[in-house]
Symmetry: C2
Subunit: 246 residues, 2 copies
Amino acid sequence: MTYCVAMRLKEGLVMLSDTRTNAGVDHIATFTKMHVCEVPGERVICVLSAGNLAVTQSVIQHVTEGPSTEAGQPSETLLNVPTMFRAAELVGDAIGQVFRTHGEAMKAQDVRFDVNMLVGGQIKGKPMRLFQVYSAGNFIEASEDTPYLQIGEHKYGKPILDRAAHYDTDPNDAIKLALVSMDSTIRSNLTVGPPVDLLVYRRDTFKVGLRRRIGEDDPYFRGIREQWSKALRDAYRAIPRPDWAQ
Amino acid sequence: MTYCVAMRLKEGLVMLSDTRTNAGVDHIATFTKMHVCEVPGERVICVLSAGNLAVTQSVIQHVTEGPSTEAGQPSETLLNVPTMFRAAELVGDAIGQVFRTHGEAMKAQDVRFDVNMLVGGQIKGKPMRLFQVYSAGNFIEASEDTPYLQIGEHKYGKPILDRAAHYDTDPNDAIKLALVSMDSTIRSNLTVGPPVDLLVYRRDTFKVGLRRRIGEDDPYFRGIREQWSKALRDAYRAIPRPDWAQ
C-alpha cells in the first residue's frame, strides 16, 4: 500500500509520499513514489504514485522519457508539455497506454490494474495546479475549497487535514500537517512506512524549494510523532467525563 | 455504512454505534445497530451490527427470538445461551443460516452478503468477553493487548484508539475515547451519522450500567466535538516548524 498527500496552497505546493511497497506481507521493499521533473527557471512538475508498482513505473517511464517511438521522433514528456492540464492528460494517456499493453494479461493473472497519481506543479507563465489522475486516465483538480488530495491509504490521515488544511495555510505549516497525517497513517497501517519523501514548491519560483528524504530517525519527524501522540492523549484527558456517566 | 466500536476493559465494557444506514446517497435512514439482551442480575449481552441491513436484522431476529422452529420447541437465544462463547457461536450460526437462505439470491442481484457483528457481555459466573463475528460466522476475541474492536468504517477513528485505549482505561474515559473516535469518523465520512447509541456495562454487575442515545445536539457530544477539533488544531500549531524549512 501507499500513502501520498499533496496540498495546493496560496503560497505553494507541499507534496509528501511514503516509500513502502509490498506484495504480500513477506515481500516488502522501499521505492520512491515521488518523481520530479524540473527545468530551473521554467517548470517544476512533481508526480506522486500509488498502486501496482509495475504499472506506476511504466507510467513514469512514459511521461518522463516518452513512449518507445521511432528513433529521432521527439516525445512529449513532462519536460516539454505546455501546461499543467496537458501534464495531467499526458499521465492519464500513459495510464491508458499501459492498460492497453498489460491490462488483459494482468486480469488473466487476477492482478488488479490499480493506479492513482497526484500531478502538481507550475510552468512559467501558467498557474500552479494540482491534479489527481485515476486508473481510467480521467482526473480531478484541487481547488481553494478543497486544497488537498490524497491517494493510497488515505483514511487514517484525513481527520487532521479535514480540520486544519486551508488554502491560505503557510507551506511551512503544511509540512507539519502532511507529516502528522503521514504519521497517523504509518502508525495505523503497516503497509505504509518510512522514509518519506517531501517536496515543497513556492509559487512563481520555477525551481524546487525543498526536497528532503525524512527517515524514521529524523529528529524533527521523531519529534512530531512524539508531540502529536502526546497531544492527542493530553487532549482526550483534558475532555471532562460526561456528567451523566457513573 | 456504519461505525461501531467496543472496548473490553478491566472494569467493564463500553460499546458505541452510529445509526445511519444508506442504500445509495439518496436513501438514508436511521436504524439502531445496538441490540441489548438483559436479564437483570443474570446477564447482559450487547450486539452491534454492520453490513447489509436485511441480513443484520435477520441475524438479530434469529438470535433474540430464535429461528422459526416448530411451535412449542424452545429456541436457543442470547437470553438463554450458557456462555459468551456460545453467544458468539450462535450469532455466527445465525449468519450462516441467513446466508443459506438468502446468499444465492443476493448474489444473483449483485448484492454483497456483508455482515460484521460485535458481541460483548457477561453471564453470571462467567467472564466478561467481547467478540467480533465475521460474515463467514467465524470470530475473534478482544484481549488485554488489544482491548478494542471496530466494525464498519473503522479507519478514521482508529488513530486515537491506537494511542489511548488500554485494558486498564477507566470506562468513563473510554466513553470519551469512543465518542472522539466516532466524531472523527462522522466528520470524515458522510455515511456514518448521529444519533449514536452508547452502552456501558460494569464487570460483575449483570445489569446495563448506562444506555444512552446521544444526538447531534447533545451538549456533551457537541462539547467533545468542539474541544477535540480545537485540540487537534492547537496541537498542530504548537509543533515548531522544521528548522530545515524556508
